[in-house]
Symmetry: C2
Subunit: 74 residues, 2 copies
Amino acid sequence: MRYLRDEKFIKLVGKRVRQVRLMKNISQAQLAADCDVEISQISRIERGVINTSLSQINNIARNLKVHPKDLLDV
Amino acid sequence: MRYLRDEKFIKLVGKRVRQVRLMKNISQAQLAADCDVEISQISRIERGVINTSLSQINNIARNLKVHPKDLLDV
DNA sequence: TCAAATATAGGCAAATTTGCTTACAAATAA
DNA sequence: TTATTTGTAAGCAAATTTGCCTATATTTGA
């Protein structure tokens, strides 16, 4: 199968998530708790090792108190 | 497992994708061809039945000639 | 009306994400 | 230095997405 994975893009989004999180002075652990997801998942997303979903982006955005589109502003 | 799926959000994004596609006067078949994905996949995304990935959103955005964040402008 | 174009639906296998866990590395603070 | 916090890494099972396919419904145009 030819699964679509845009390495460049998912890495950019990961960096953007991290950037916003740090701007808000929140640890990965805190964000993970707020989002009710595993910290390892936050880590994977920020490092761009996974091609995460719309729902995860929305979940993270909500808990970072930004609009989901702001996390795609890369 | 407690897989995160935000029905409301993915349906909104689906509607937004459709809206942009129709604004550009493109059929699902055309968009699918441009994106090199299955038409059934475009259909599933627009109807909000799947919680698609960042890469898919970027792929679709690129081929609709909009910024990926515009597809999350819901 | 009829044909053609467009969109929806669903099944199956393969690939991936996610939750859960444990372990370790790296940075920070005392 | 030592302890604490923070972040990275990896493996496994379950759930989901995706590609591929076929079939059907719905809309549009002649």
